[in-house]
Amino acid sequence: MSTYKPTGQRVITLSFLFLAIIFLIGAYFGVQRFFVGGMGAVSNLNGGFSWGIWVVYDVVIGTALACGGYALAMTIYIMNRGRYHPLMRPAILTSLLGYALGGFGAFFDMGKFWQFYEIFLPWNWNFNSVMLEVGLCVATYIIILIIEFSPVFLERIGAKGLLKILNKVLFVVIALGILLPTMHQSSLGSLLIGMGHKVDPLWQTWHFQPLLAIISALIMGFSIVVFETSLTSVGLKQPSEAPLLAGIGRIIMWLLVGFVVIRLVILAYQSKLGLILTSGTSSLVFIIEMALFIIPIILLAMAKTRNSPGQLLIAAVCMLFAGAAYRFDAFLITYNPGPGYTYFPSAPEIMITLGIIALEIMAFLFLIKKLPVLHDTKHA
């Protein structure tokens, strides 16, 4: 059954060493944060901006970028498009790495990290809290991703018996792998509701937050599949999956159209269309963000672009920026806690986030070279 193969290439390359240096710089500041001066010593977090890039990039955006496994599982198993199966394994791997490191980022940001387990104790649970849903659901999903990825290890060590058992129950695991991200990715949007007036009116859509969050998560999930697949085929000289990607491109196009239309209809319904032009800096930010959503719609609508790997990559980058911008803008850039507070991440704070990203890419490169993750097109 194995149509997947390790690429078998060398692990230690120049780019790998470069990533390792970035990681070590981040790790140095990590030691400062946990053992020397606390969060204040390495970050610009303050009383008004208590969530900075560690929460907004590492968790809110990072996990959305890790939605490739979720988006593909939905296409393959629910919409029954089995032909996308070759893309599944690398997508599950990036999801696993993205979520694991999102969890790691959350731990970095956790003010009282030494008692993180308190959130897992049922007698502490506050069922009114959006954060409770996010915390528990993300933790469970990481376990589900490990199970979904485990056949790769089991194949490698030849554990046929275990594989057989796993295959019998895999359908429930896959179903959970679709349900759980739907829950916590929408809840990441719901976090904004409780932040009330601090969220700019153009982004504070109240009851509609979970809807916009889940659509943007799907957009980012599909985009990262296109992005990574194009990049691995170019960068590691793997055979191209272009025909498959063009099909995904069509799905994303409709998600983008849906997002833009729903967003504008909500603003009209809440009588906030005028704010698009009258909110000063927020207006500019909103217009740039919307442009990032609309440009790839135009690119993807044309069959010529959709079938060209290079153009598709440009569209994917655009969409990743669009989804990331939506979340960055709402949680940080236009976020206004009131007079007297400003925030821009400090250099050590940025280095910690870059270190986490470097670690994620290093792990991905190592694993596809050593384990049967990538699709072997010759056998397909």
């Binding site: 977090l45 303050n46 198993y77 003010g111 959130i119 409780g194 601090k198």
Partner: protein, 325 residues
């Protein structure tokens, strides 16, 4: 399952979701606690002496802020993990006239407002922020806190503050001088700041009595004289007679986001004093309505899981038959 079947199932599922959501009632704002206690801060009476700030630091055992060898006293500029109560100043133009919007100045107290429907309590995943059922005091319980700081972003007034400069820091906030070890309210005393205030600008009392007092002051005629109480509004330590200023007809905390137990009155519009733009409906009531519509008894997720498992099973079985795993 072909495409048509998929859409049929999807539409049926969405319809069930929407009906389910519709059946859950919107969660209205919470009501004040039965014996809610609070404070009334009258900005027009405040002379900016900061006796309340000093007393607060003493009662809560907090160090002076921004102090150095040349200025070895407390210079707190805003709320922080060291400062649970602070007096801020509004100044316009030459800043000569008290309580004038133009060319004037005014004071504003910042401390926990003890919301009737607190955002921090709603947001906290581990129930480390609680509203006392009887007194309405919003308390913090560090033993179960994980430091996610959602209470800080969910507080309209930026009240809970984290000790960023301590590896093993905590969330800190005003607990109306009733936290374990202090317990002034339980012992029949009033809050430190109200006790220390020389002009009665910070009054202590039940929310009901304070709201009645605030409404009475709104009715007074500017220029008349009124006996202002000091300390506890229902049994004042003393009173002093003073000319009535021109109050703005607005009691901050009567209705804002469900109301607060600490209320403010002033001559200067509250947005100029740095108060946030709040509607009458609390953000937590909207947030909880959405959460409970989707997750009550985990009913919708359970139905969704059953449906998804069924579809995945059917689609993978068919794939296996066709040999295209």
């Amino acid at each position: 399952m072909d495409r048509r079947d998929f859409f049929k199932t999807a539409i049926a599922g969405s319809a069930a979701t929407i009906c389910g959501a519709g059946a859950v009632q919107a969660r209205p704002n919470l009501e004040p606690a039965t014996e809610a206690i609070g404070m009334l801060y009258d900005s027009t009476l405040c002379v900016g002496c900061k006796a309340c700030v000093a007393k607060c630091k003493e009662v809560n055992d907090r160090p002076p802020s921004n102090a150095d060898l040349d200025n070895p006293w407390d210079n707190a500029l805003d709320l922080s993990s060291e400062t649970f109560n602070v007096i801020k100043v509004y100044k316009d133009g030459n800043g000569e006239t008290k309580d004038a919007i133009k060319d004037g100045f005014a004071f504003e107290k910042r401390s926990c407002m003890h919301c009737v429907d607190p955002g921090c309590v709603s947001a906290c995943p581990t129930t480390s922020m609680r509203r006392d059922n009887r007194t309405g005091i919003v308390t913090h319980h560090p033993d179960s806190c994980i430091g996610c700081r959602n209470c800080m972003v969910a507080c309209p007034y930026n009240v809970p503050q984290f000790e960023y400069n301590n590896v093993f820091g905590n969330i800190n906030k005003c607990e109306m001088c009733n936290q374990p070890g202090v317990e002034r309210i339980n012992n029949g005393q009033m809050t430190g700041c109200a006790e220390a205030c020389p002009t009665g600008a910070t009054l202590f009392g039940t929310r009901k009595a304070l709201l009645a007092e605030a409404k009475k002051r709104m009715e007074l005629k500017p220029g008349d004289y009124y006996e202002y109480p000091r300390g506890d509004v229902s049994k004042p330590d003393s009173v002093h007679e003073k000319e009535v200023p021109k109050y703005l007809n607005h009691i901050w905390g009567e209705k804002e986001a469900g109301g607060t137990n600490v209320m403010h009155i002033s001559s200067i519009p509250f947005d100029k004093l740095g108060m946030p733009p709040l509607a009458e409906r609390s953000a937590s009531s909207i947030s909880e309505t959405v959460q409970h519509s989707l997750y009550s008894y985990l009913a919708l997720p359970a139905i969704a899981l059953a449906g998804l498992s069924f579809m995945v099973k059917r689609n993978t079985d068919r794939d296996d038959e066709e040999g295209t795993s």
